[in-house]
């Protein structure tokens, strides 16, 4: 009777309870403080923008899978995350139709045309943001500041530059931390982003390597360029990019050294673009460029196969 008690199966024998849906839910939870902060700072229009983006992304994901006659992947919540991230990357007073066009780029062109979740070669939300930035430069660079009375945002809002383009000394660190400055709805409140990042690290959804190396490289580069490193890290979209964009599973390396190289490249490019390009911000372009380099970085840092001895140079087979 012994054999009946043995359950024979092939490996793996130990499974974790992780699933795509659970991971995506964690990311949504981590983005919640930022979304709430956006609604508090920018008011009701930010909530509408988030709702429009999430709903459009989910709908397009459903329709795209339907048209391609593939199994629906709406249930894994990845489209919700893409929509949320895209909304957080937009200025508050953007035309909802433009935001919906961004969703189309993210879900249909970047994600589904390359095969759906796990197949996209760049981060969909980021690619959509860049397409919008190139297509509608005036609408995408129209920042609204709510200095003074955050709760009455709609009335007290004034148009202004992002902290990166503003004159030195306009914003204090406290302004940057709690979001009293111009920018995309999700990038202004640094504290909410940091809370979300800590949650993701504790839940082991992301490894701290990418955000830490990214921010450290950017800090060191700003010292080299003679800029204020704390200001450079807090201002603009760097925290949002480092914590939520650069850590996307599909488009970041799996090896630890690969992560270090990737994140350092992001930090370096961001600071180069911020300093030498004619745009105030360089986070999205740098992450997108490094996304494209990920296959090369992974090949370079592939771990040695167990039991395989590296041949000395010049030695023949």
């Amino acid at each position: 009777m012994m054999e009946n008690k043995l359950y024979v199966s092939s490996s793996p024998h130990i499974r974790s309870n992780n699933s795509t849906r659970r991971i995506m839910l964690d990311v949504i939870i981590a983005l919640a403080p930022t979304s709430v902060a956006a609604c508090v700072i920018f008011g009701f229009r930010a909530a509408v923008l988030i709702a429009v983006c999430v709903a459009t992304c989910v709908l397009l994901e459903f329709l795209a899978r339907k048209v391609m006659k593939r199994e629906s992947t709406v249930g894994d919540l990845s489209a919700v995350v893409t929509g949320l991230l895209l909304a957080l990357n937009l200025p508050v007073d953007i035309n909802p139709l433009i935001a919906m066009f961004g969703c189309l780029i993210a879900i249909v062109v970047v994600k589904q045309m390359f095969g759906g979740i796990g197949m996209n070669f760049v981060n969909p939300a980021l690619a959509a943001r860049i397409v919008l930035l190139v297509s509608f430069p005036s609408a995408m660079m129209h920042w609204v500041t709510v200095k003074g009375a955050p709760a009455k945002a709609v009335i007290d809002a004034t148009t202004s530059a992002t902290p990166l383009a503003a004159e030195k000394g306009t914003y204090s660190y406290v302004d940057l931390l709690i979001g009293r400055c111009g920018g995309s709805i999700g990038e202004v409140c640094a504290i909410a982003l940091i809370i979300g990042g800590i949650y993701l690290v504790i839940r082991r959804v992301i490894s701290p390597i990418i955000p830490c190396v990214y921010l450290a490289t950017a800090g060191v580069m700003s010292l080299i360029f003679g800029l204020n490193p704390v200001f450079q890290v807090l201002a603009g979209g760097m925290l949002l990019g480092a914590i939520f964009m650069a850590t996307d599973y599909t488009t970041s390396p799996v090896t630890n050294w690969g992560k270090v190289i990737y994140a350092a490249g992001c930090g370096l490019l961001t600071m180069l673009l911020r300093t030498y390009s004619n745009m105030p911000e360089g986070v999205s372009f740098s992450i997108l460029l490094m996304n494209i380099l990920v296959p090369l970085i992974e090949r370079m840092t592939a771990p040695r196969t167990l039991g395989f001895v590296k041949k000395a140079k010049g030695e023949k087979k």
């Binding site: 066009f101 062109v109 397409v131 297509s135 509608f136």
Partner: protein, 230 residues
């Protein structure tokens, strides 16, 4: 029989062997000048004129051009026609000349024209060569016009300068939008070409739309992936 053969030489360039969408030749002018529909027409007509004339002359001289120096000889003939066309455009359509800029003289090195000279006009009599050039030119112009209309409509909101859409998606008149529209059109052309019950090709030469004219087909089929690349 003869008439049917001639018709085939003409029509093959329009869909089945469309130089831009199936042979993927001449992509540089395709991507560069299709920011508006009128530019696309100007480029298409200029290239077609050169293509027809050069095909005719090269075909007529095919027995006199030594094989070893055929490429320089072809280029010289093509360059002569390009100069004529450029002078005509400058005289009668200076606006087109300004907007096409360097791409007008660059027709000299257009892969479609040299490709047709090498593949077709160098081995066939004059009349089929003229028809081949005309068909390829029409196919080139049609593909350019499609791209030009789509890109101008979405990128500037207008067609042939007449404002239609109330918004502009600038990326479509920038290079990334050009590549995107180009990819979409290639997809559409592939769809049209495979829809009519044609089997998916398996060996490299079967999949090559130039296989019919390829001189290396007999000995090198299976080794060479593409008959010609520019």
């Amino acid at each position: 029989m003869m008439a049917k053969g001639y018709l085939k030489e003409f029509t093959k360039g329009i869909v089945k062997e469309n130089p831009v969408l199936c042979l993927v030749l001449g992509t540089c002018p395709t991507l560069a000048v299709t920011t508006s529909a009128s530019n696309a027409i100007g480029m298409g007509v200029a290239a077609t004129a050169v293509l027809v004339c050069s095909n005719a002359v090269i075909s007529a001289l095919r027995r006199f051009i030594p094989d070893k120096v055929r490429i320089p000889a072809y280029i010289t003939i093509i360059a002569g026609f390009v100069t004529i066309v450029q002078m005509l455009v400058k005289a009668f359509a200076p606006a087109i000349n300004d907007s096409l800029g360097i791409f007008l003289p660059l027709i000299v090195v257009n892969c479609i024209i040299l490709g047709r000279a090498e593949m077709f006009a160098g081995k066939n009599p004059v009349i089929p060569s003229i028809l081949d050039g005309l068909g390829m030119g029409v196919g080139f112009t049609a593909a350019l016009l499609c791209m030009g209309i789509i890109r101008e409509l979405l990128g500037s909101g207008s067609v042939f300068g007449a404002q239609i859409l109330p918004f502009q998606i600038l990326i479509f008149i920038l290079p990334p939008g050009g590549f995107f529209v180009f990819g979409m059109l290639i997809m559409l052309a592939n769809k049209l070409n495979t829809r009519a019950g044609r089997k998916v090709k398996t060996t490299p030469c079967d999949g090559c739309p130039m296989a019919a004219n390829c001189s290396q087909k007999a000995e090198k089929c299976g080794e060479k992936e593409e008959a010609e690349s520019c």
